[in-house]
Symmetry: C2
Subunit: 685 residues, 2 copies
């Protein structure tokens, strides 16, 4: 059951699609100890799930989080905000079980047992918000109800589940050709190459630098012949430049965010001074979205939206004032207080709260100061693109994902988990984020594998990929100036090839589960607790995940080890794959196990009476057969699998022709229902 509680006069966020009347009752569970805060008393063992993209554990207890979309690449435990804002929690205690969504677009803090270990205190900036309360006896049902409330998740084209290579620093077509050639020559699977900011003409959105990419449409075609999709980045800020049509149209139509005095607000990012499209203004949103057509027309069919918190390097006024103020320190003998003040001023140049308070949106004629709706900005940028795709190419799926997001944006696109680092802790952090993001509808997601900032190592990249082969978005991405981390840069190319090939082997299963999770409002990755609610050990497992109904994953996230502990809540069959052809399986009883997982091995676990369909692999998505499948399972009695497949780019998800049900008995008898003829073989059951 879902109930809505309205406080004050909330701004519309379009996070929720269902129309629910506000309850006249008092909000249960919570009290309001101070004006504007909501207090819930947790029991000693209460688990708190949610918050989507956030630091720390699957269980969020023991920290204070802040919902305020932030461009901060240091995703350390002590941070409170990341790029996305997902104000959904599930409270899972002995006494209470419920979900709660705080639909509130400004800064919101969640003190989850930080100040006082058993108190959950949620504090908005003002008292205008909607709270949705979702109750059920089944935690999975709470998620499904919430997802029904917020609408069906975006579904990416099938090719976007292939492996993608990215780097800030591929400066021209030749660099990209090299990346593709090296993969193809070495038979390393690849479906896409991402184009970071380098491809643009002076970092102007929707332009292509003609010196670096002469005849871009031909290059896109050339890449298509190589079965490679190019995926350009689009930034939120529009360069201020006379003669640049996007800028001029924006100015002419008042499509940019304004200062209080009604002039266009100017900030600076990659190209220097920019204006921010007012994505909360429906006309501006449509206008900006239609700009993507410039690239669609050149053959592009995928994009990633960046810098849309929005990140602000500086504003011209702040830069001038700061530098003037800094000048006053010149020649002085600065003690600690003055020096820290100086440093603070330097560090305060970017993403300043004051700047976020100094510009306005025009939402259907209503003037909104940015900080009050800050968390909706990236969401509506991606909505802008997605709505345009729907208008321009209604039949076709276009890849789109974003850095910043808010609940609701999951209907329009995916997200990647931002600018992480090449550190081991970020393998585990990514794992922990996955179920939290899935709860909030973000299914098409993944981390920058290998790590974006800082220098990776071969073993880190291998272990990162060994998690990434399970995430819908599987992209290797790194920053300018860091070690080159395409898989061919390292010594163990056979191991990388086998690892990527295992992904392509898993694709029939992963794609089927991914699309079904969207259609059925389910999670792809779940904490163990969601499957084994009575298992107290499972409740504390923070480094394993259930993948759909069939699998459990337990990647290695530490350096210099060749194994790890795994907790099995029930008997499972362990699959230890060195390649699609070279693997062994072992039945393991419920309980604790130390499992050997060398660098060249991927391990996953099959639940009893479950099967998954595998392909024979391939070097890109077009080589993956959805018909000829090998079944891998753990069947003691009978297993049944609902298999979904389609052509990968249309939206006819409901077509019954896309569905088969595969049944297998312990003796290996298979039976398939559904229109499509599958060619099944048993790999191992």
């Amino acid at each position: 059951m879902i109930r809505k509680f309205t406080f004050g006069n909330p701004l519309s966020t379009d996070a929720v699609i269902a129309t629910i009347p506000s309850s006249m009752d008092a909000l249960p569970y919570f009290t309001s100890p101070e004006t504007g805060s909501f207090l819930y008393k947790m029991e000693e063992d209460t688990l708190i799930y949610g918050l989507g993209e956030a630091v720390r554990g699957i269980n969020k207890r023991g920290w204070i989080y802040e919902s305020y979309a932030s461009d901060d690449c240091n995703h350390a435990e002590n941070k409170r905000s990341l790029y996305g804002v997902h104000n959904f929690l599930i409270i899972d205690g002995k006494k209470d079980l419920f979900g709660v969504f705080f639909d509130y677009p400004a800064r919101l803090t969640f003190d989850i047992g930080y100040t006082s270990s058993n108190r959950l205190v949620i504090t908005p900036q003002d008292n205008n918000l909607d709270i949705y309360l979702i109750e059920s006896d089944d935690i999975n049902d709470i998620v499904t109800q919430f997802r029904q409330l917020i609408g069906q998740s975006y579904i990416a084209p099938k090719w976007a589940l292939g492996y993608g290579q990215s780097r800030w620093g591929y400066k021209n077509a030749e660099d990209i050709r090299t990346v593709v050639r090296r993969h193809r020559e070495e038979h390393l699977p690849l479906d896409s190459v991402y184009m970071d900011i380098d491809y643009m003409d002076n970092y102007k959105d929707f332009t292509v630098n003609e010196n670096r990419f002469p005849d871009f449409p031909s290059f896109v075609e050339e890449m298509k012949r190589e079965k490679i999709h190019l995926v350009p980045i689009i930034d939120a800020g529009v360069k201020i430049e006379e003669g640049y049509s996007v800028y001029e149209e924006g100015v002419h139509n008042n499509y940019f965010c304004k200062k209080e005095d009604g002039t266009d607000f100017t900030a600076a990012v990659w190209p220097g001074h920019v204006c921010f499209p007012d994505f909360l203004n429906p006309a501006a949103r449509r206008w900006f979205g239609l700009q993507y057509n410039t690239l669609l027309k050149q053959g592009i069919d995928g994009f990633w939206n960046d810098m849309n918190e929005p990140a602000i390097f500086y504003t011209p006024e702040r830069l001038t004032n700061t530098l003037k103020e800094l000048g006053d320190y010149c020649g002085r003998n600065l003690g600690v207080d003055d020096f820290f003040e100086l440093k603070g001023k330097m560090e305060g140049l970017s993403n300043a709260d004051e700047d976020y308070r100094s510009f306005y949106h025009n939402a259907d004629g209503k003037l909104l100061r940015h900080d009050k709706v800050h968390n909706l900005y990236g969401y509506n940028m991606t909505r802008s693109a997605s709505e345009a795709f729907e208008e321009l190419l209604p039949e076709k799926r276009i890849l789109i994902f974003s850095r910043s997001s808010y609940v609701g944006m999951h209907r329009y696109g995916g997200i990647w988990t931002g600018d992480n680092m090449s550190i081991w802790g970020h393998v585990l952090l990514n794992l922990k984020m996955l179920p939290s993001l899935n709860m909030c509808g973000f299914l098409y997601t993944g981390a920058d594998l290998g790590g974006f900032g800082e220098n990776t190592t071969e073993d880190l990249l291998l272990r990162f990929l060994a998690l990434g082969i399970f995430t819908p978005l599987m992209r290797n991405h790194s920053a300018l100036g860091t070690r080159e981390q395409e898989v061919y840069q390292f010594e163990k190319s056979d191991v990388f090839r086998n690892l990527l090939m295992i992904r392509y082997g898993l694709l029939p299963y992963l794609y089927s589960e991914y699309v079904k999770a969207s259609l059925k409002n389910k999670m792809l990755f779940r904490p163990l607790r969601f499957v084994y609610p009575k298992d107290s050990r499972a409740a504390q497992i923070e480094d394993q995940l259930m993948l759909s109904d069939e699998l459990m994953i337990a990647p290695v996230y530490e350096q210099n080890v060749s194994g790890r502990y795994v907790y099995l809540p029930e008997n499972m069959r362990m699959i230890r794959m060195r390649s699609l052809k070279d693997y062994d399986t072992e039945l393991l009883p419920a309980g604790d196990h130390y499992v050997t997982i060398p660098l060249d091995t991927v391990v996953f676990f099959l639940r009893p009476n479950c099967i998954i369909p595998l392909s024979d692999g391939g070097e890109n998505i077009t080589e993956i057969s959805g018909i000829s499948l090998k079944l891998l399972g753990y069947v003691t009695d009978t297993a049944s699998y609902d298999y979904y497949d389609d052509n990968g780019y249309e939206k006819d998800y409901g077509d019954p022709a896309h569905y088969n049900t595969i049944r297998v008995t312990a003796s290996g008898n298979t039976k398939v229902t559904g229109e499509r003829r599958l060619e099944l073989s048993i790999a191992s059951i």
Copy 2:
């Protein structure tokens, strides 16, 4: 066997005390692929131990480390240098087993399988260095030989193994009184309060602010009556101020580091402009050391030396030039390249390489550019203090520990592991550093428990302390502006009290082992591999340690869990302590175990036929009896323990009266040899 290999004309570091002639042979094991580098080819399974204070694992493979003493509070995986420099490695492979010490005081890099997974490449700046090679069949013997080479480790007074409370921000005597009162009122054990920079008059070394601490000697006396030792901080930089005697004497005697033109080098730290004492000049070193007498005479008997990498906030020239250069950006439209350049200039203000190249030491008349001997600075600051204590109070142990260090400094004082953060990862990082530091002679060491920077949580502090009860230095320290983290600030005061009391219960054992480890050149904390060299699982354990010969520890370092996995290389007896009086024990067979360890519980493991002596606890060190002892052990046959104790402040370690041997049989018969009469009882064997 130890061999010395001399290349070029090395600078003297005084790291080594033994005189060994340089070998005429070629350096074995290593080749020199490029001029100046030393290459060793590792096998796939070769383990690399060492490097003392460094990020990442006990096994250092898979990263590139840089020996260059650095003031960097972000001890993240991607960092290459921390405060201390400890160029000792043990190579532990199937083929080779040896230790190697690179005695080289300038920047030195260790690429341990980073660039190429099986290559260890060590690169100095120039070819003037001594390399010591230590061979033995026993890895423990390699350590002992190395420690004999570098000399006996500093031994702290016994009270310095009591619990200490610290915070940057105790601004006056009243603040400290409150800290003491709260501990005493709530029966929370405490032996010392640390005085951070706030106590000084304008951050001038060896001064006390008379407004904040009127009649300081009386205050020291008052604290002594409370059984509290006050431990002031001393910084490397001496404030430039006319009339300040330390500054004036330094100038007058040419005791400060000089610029190339012979004038005093000026940098800035806490007090603004400072000069750096030239600790490499023996006369300056003695002069600075004798300054500590100002505080010794007021009753102080412990110090910590800080900022001695040396940290440089800025130099006046760099500040002026930087601010001038920044001014040139004013009013400009900066794109990404210019903006990143601007940011780089701002960030380059502190600890600039160029500044370290711009001043000189006068070592026995020889002019040395600082960067060539950078890693010796903190070492010689602490040596300066320690040599003065020896001169002023030869009979008495004075507490002294340092932030920066180099091998050799372990003879003069301890170290704390620098300005860590209140994050869970730093519990584990501290554990991993301990054996590496012990190898290099640093026995008196510990982390800032609860975390220095950022805000702690109650559970983090509890888990941090549960590791800290085993480290000789057990100090809770936090930074200005962070959450207050004295144990009485939190809800679970009983749990904190019990935890601290367990430390005091363990003290007879810990003190005995600590002193013996110094006298016998042994490690207090060892990787499991050192005790179980044939156990391949033990070789990969990075989150458990052997404590001396009797115990294994396995602290919890994750949030929201009430247990962890523990690997037992042999049968052990698990002790699960909620308090000194409330504990249970369980015999566990060798192998893997999931062990429940709630927040209120300390767990450790006793090896077979081992006993340890416990006290009944106490609220400070004077209440701990070294005579009336309870024996806790795991005795199936007979156990024997060599017990050391003394009065805690004299240096007569060789006095046979300090030694007893306690023998216990499985049936509980005890037998004690030694002069001292012990009152033994059996707690549990």
